[in-house]
Symmetry: C2
Subunit: 345 residues, 2 copies
């Protein structure tokens, strides 16, 4: 496992802390915006960091477990949405455009191949994962290929000079996989974890919970570490996200983590390489309950809560302007000395 | 009292609700971004609203009560910060620039006149409010003049074609005034209301609480309605904000409300004219405890919580990009029909 990670520049972070204390405002009064600027100073190794080239890769794949009827939407929506991403009509493509972010959608295993399309990278590992109620979601070779597809996205981002990485996902059925993974990895009871996903009712949620319970029982002995959890009850796009996150941490590319699916992938990355967390900021509190278990496990707090549950990287994309403004405040505000403003008594 | 308010366009809001339901995402999955777009549709009377010309007026004034030693900073900081606003070195000026917002600072009663300066509007009502521990903060004539100064700012915004109004404030001592007002107007005990302001310690906070209690006792009989509360224990910049908010509601200009001081002004506006609330969005949860009492009283939820407590309109300015993105998503996302995406089963 290639887990030699970069570390943040402590000198730049200390200088950023000192700069924050010198700016014309009560100490600490910019709250989490100060944290963001200091964190990015550490990521970029300079006192005044900037975000100029955000990058968004959305990984798409289908889930064999959808044949159990766990989602409000038919599985064909995954491929239909891939076309919508390519045409620029999905939420994340609007957010990418408005934020000036580079965007790509990566097919790591939609049931039906829809390439070629604009902005679509074909990196198909399989025609969907297997139904994990009956067998492992992926073979070990498929898991490795999906991780590698994620790494390749980060390589493209780095080659384009990206300074912030956002991973998104599309895959009907993937809240089922994420809930299963998070329940197992956080040792949390399913009733506190399983949510309504894209909009199932309470009865369907009970069914979804039963399907997950069966899968957890089936694969219990085989799931000996985080990667084997991902292999047995995860999904191809979740594995790609995990590979991407680990690769960002290896290369010192800061990342903004999105909703519950991205959090499941980030959790695996942090279990495999705990120091990967230093390169992550968690963008938003999703409506899906499983996410809270990840936040508790990793001891992190999301930046915003806009009651979203869309995925695609949309919550993370909303953090881009806030992070940019944090950098602008940090760099452009006058110090007490420059402005001739008196300090606290 | 000129309280004939505009009302939101219900037809446009209904059309916006229908449009949201047609976009390629699970119903409701964009959470509060959907709310924002629908609200602005009502404000602007069109299905797809846009924010193109946000406007920020920061009202500055001093507080006579600062002679009681209620703040961590000396009162001279108000005038020093007015100069910092004019020079573009304060947080709100950075945020205005980065968001492409028009900016002005309005002196409604700093102790010492510092005009002329760039971006500074001189609308001085008095050289600070009176010490409300000993006498009313303002005379009735001063209150009226300060309300009018707020209205005049909105007139300037309207003349410039502004489509979103943010009021900010600067005034050493103004968390003392805001806490006093909110305690009285929300009938909330001071121990749940008084905070650490710009950074006083617990002992100083006890002293601040005693000063407020004395003022509440002194003016109890005279404070018969919201406007008289503002007059007796408020401040000139808080009155200007109140005047501005009421004028926005009269003219149908949507507003983003900032932190605890702005909330105190918004609370008075809503007590005077309850329908003013329809034109307001509350930007952020401040660290100052008094704000929560306002949210409970008005039954509103702030958009974001970044642990800020700076004032100046800074929290409200952070909401600008989120509101713009809400409009972009609403206008630019493809519908299920346009994209050929299947709906929920």
């Amino acid at each position: 496992m290639k887990t030699l990670l970069k570390t943040l520049c402590q000198t730049s972070m200390q200088a950023a802390v000192a700069r924050q204390a010198s700016l014309t405002k009560p100490a600490g009064s910019l709250g989490r915006l100060e944290e963001m600027a200091i964190w990015l100073a550490g990521c970029q190794g300079r006192v005044c960091p900037k975000i100029e080239r955000p990058w968004i890769s959305v990984f798409a794949a289908d889930h064999g477990v959808t044949e159990e009827g766990v989602s409000a939407f038919p599985a064909v929506v995954t491929q239909e949405m891939v076309k919508n991403f390519a045409a620029g009509g999905a939420a994340i493509t609007v957010l990418a455009r408005e934020n000036g972010a580079q965007f790509e959608v990566v097919d790591v295993g939609v049931f039906n191949d829809v390439a070629p399309l604009p902005s679509l990278i074909s990196a198909r590992v399989a025609a969907g994962s297997s139904n994990f109620k009956l067998q492992p979601a992926m073979t070990e070779a498929q898991l490795q290929a999906a991780l590698t597809a994620g790494e390749a996205a980060v390589e493209r981002a780095l080659a384009a000079g990206a300074d912030l990485f956002i991973g998104g996902e599309m895959g009907i059925g993937n809240t089922t996989a994420a809930a299963a993974m998070i329940s197992r990895l956080c040792n949390a009871p399913l009733e506190t974890i399983v949510g309504h996903g894209t909009g199932i009712n309470d009865e369907q949620k009970q069914h979804k919970t039963k399907v997950i319970q069966t899968a957890l029982d089936l694969h219990r002995a085989a799931m000996t570490d985080a990667m084997s959890v991902l292999q047995h009850i995860g999904g191809l796009e979740i594995a790609a996200l995990t590979g991407a996150y680990l690769h960002c941490a290896r290369h010192g590319l800061p990342m903004v983590i999105d909703g519950v699916i991205s959090c499941a992938a980030a959790l695996v990355a942090c279990k495999v390489a705990p120091k990967a967390k230093a390169w992550m900021v968690f963008a938003h509190q999703s409506v899906e309950p499983a996410q809270q278990a990840v936040f508790s496990d990793l001891a992190v707090d999301p930046l915003i809560d806009l009651q979203m549950r869309l995925g695609e990287g949309s919550g993370a994309a909303l953090a881009i302007p806030l992070i940019k403004l944090a950098c602008a405040l940090h760099a452009q505000m006058a110090t007490f000395e420059q402005a001739g403003v008196s300090g606290a008594d």
